[in-house]
């Protein structure tokens, strides 16, 4: 049986959260889509959505969001209790 009110479980990269005061690499938030999750992160740490999303609007090219093991987009739905990993892609030199 699923708990319809269970929050999603979110893991954030350390080099993202250190840009924000009191940033945390693990948190639980209520969100029905990845877009709502980004809004919730923005509320918690103003400016974080801009670090993860651009103005197309879309998840930034070198950021990967995995939901229950599958690569997601902003419109991807989140089931109650979903596992969300925000990861940085291989990039740079």
């Amino acid at each position: 049986m699923t708990d319809d009110t269970a929050p999603v479980k979110v893991r954030l990269p350390a080099h993202l959260v250190r840009l924000f005061p009191d940033g945390e690499t693990y948190l639980e938030l209520p969100a029905a889509t990845v877009r709502e999750l980004m809004d919730a992160l923005e509320t918690r740490w103003p400016g974080m959505r801009d670090r993860l999303c651009d103005e197309r609007p879309a998840i930034r090219r070198h950021i990967n969001v995995f939901v229950d093991g599958r690569r997601a987009r902003l419109e991807t739905p989140l089931r109650p209790g979903a596992d969300v990993f925000v990861l940085t892609a291989i990039s740079g030199g």
Binding site: L19, R56, H62, A89
Partner: protein, 361 residues
């Protein structure tokens, strides 16, 4: 009151600061700052003492960093630093210019201009460049379609010039709402022979304003060095006497409009390093009519480095200090207007920009 001189250094892996007393003989290095993000430009606001750094990270996008304690601590923001929804995302901040009354301008890639009225906490798009009729023709230079030169007019807070690779120089008289191309007389050698003086599309590398003369500008272009005495409406070549027509940075003297410093490289298809691998800064004292090579203290053998478009600056002391940073991570300084040089740092990441800030302590 005591003074400190700061050299503000933007690199591919963060910002650094070199610091000295006004004698400029003993320097200490601090950094890297800005979480080691690629940092294209670091500037100081002389009025407030605040330091701003602009850059962009491949993962997290563009940002402007601020420090109110000469680099000891930093915050960052990119609120509003985005083109309109649906447009190509802003990748990085490339140029910063503090203006009067606490205004901060930020130039970005892809080419666009933003303004902050709250000390870099939030930004408003000045979208006149996006709406310019020639916009569809603009092509990127080697580093992208970047707005790298941002020149304010100290006599008119509504007037500014920008340099965009490879769209050319543009001027606004209304605070960035509308723009006119200012490229007459500058060459585009990479165009067909009968189209080498177009209205726009030139590959400008650096534009600086001379002090004291309201309409005097200098420009280092991909194709030549130029002077303008009418605010960029027309440009005259000043490359005669220089070892090549190619280079990136230009630095004006803080008080003398006739003095300019350039770093010509050996050529755009010849490796883009020091001519004959011997380093020199070239100085004019007569507005570009004649040039003198300044080599004392600079490597005269095996100098295969470049100096990028924003990587040379002067300070405001007497005599003026001149500083440049190389693609191979060295900072060279002169405390006597280029007569003699000392290497202040080596092994830094690739240096994108060098600016100075003199502060009272």
């Amino acid at each position: 009151m005591a003074q400190k001189v700061l050299i503000l250094i933007g690199t591919k892996k963060g910002a650094f600061i070199l610091e000295s007393d006004p004698a400029r003989t003993s320097w200490s290095l601090r950094g890297p700052f800005c979480d080691t993000w690629p940092t294209n430009h670091v500037v100081g606001d002389r009025a407030s003492g605040r330091i701003y750094a602009g850059g962009g990270n491949e993962w997290f996008g563009p940002a402007v960093w601020q420090s109110d304690d000469l680099g000891a601590s930093w915050t960052h923001s990119s609120r509003g630093l985005a083109h309109a929804e649906g447009e190509a995302p802003v990748k990085s901040v490339w140029s910063l210019a503090p203006g009067a009354d606490g205004v901060l301008y930020a130039g970005v890639e892809p080419a666009g201009l933003f303004r902050s009225d709250d000390g870099g906490q939030s930004f408003t798009a000045l979208d006149g460049l996006q709406k310019h009729p020639s916009r569809g023709d603009w092509g990127p230079g080697g580093a992208g379609l970047i707005l790298h030169s941002l020149v304010l007019d100290p006599d008119d807070p509504d007037a500014l010039w920008v340099g965009i690779s490879a769209a050319g120089v543009f001027h606004s008289a209304d605070g960035g709402r509308t723009w006119s191309a200012r490229n007459r007389g500058t060459r585009a050698d990479y165009m067909p022979e009968d189209q080498r003086y177009p209205e726009h599309g030139q590959c400008v590398h650096c534009v600086v304003k001379a002090p004291g003369l309201r309409h005097r500008l200098y420009q280092q272009n991909h194709c030549g060095m130029y002077r303008s005495d009418d605010g960029g409406v027309s440009w005259q070549s000043i490359e005669k006497g220089l070892p090549s027509s190619f280079g990136f940075p230009a630095a004006a003297h803080p008080r003398d409009a006739e003095t300019l410093f350039l770093v010509p490289l050996n050529g755009d298809t010849a490796g883009r390093f020091m001519p004959e691998a011997k380093a020199a800064v070239w100085r004019t004292r007569d507005g570009g009519a004649s040039w003198q090579a300044l080599r004392s203290g600079l490597p005269q053998k095996d100098a295969y480095f470049n100096v990028l478009r924003q990587a040379m600056a002067t300070d405001t002391l007497e005599p003026a200090g001149v500083y440049f940073g190389t693609g191979s991570g060295e900072i060279y300084a002169s405390a006597d207007e280029g007569e003699s040089w000392t290497r202040l740092a080596e092994h830094l990441p690739t240096i994108s920009s060098v600016e100075t800030l003199v502060v009272e302590t």
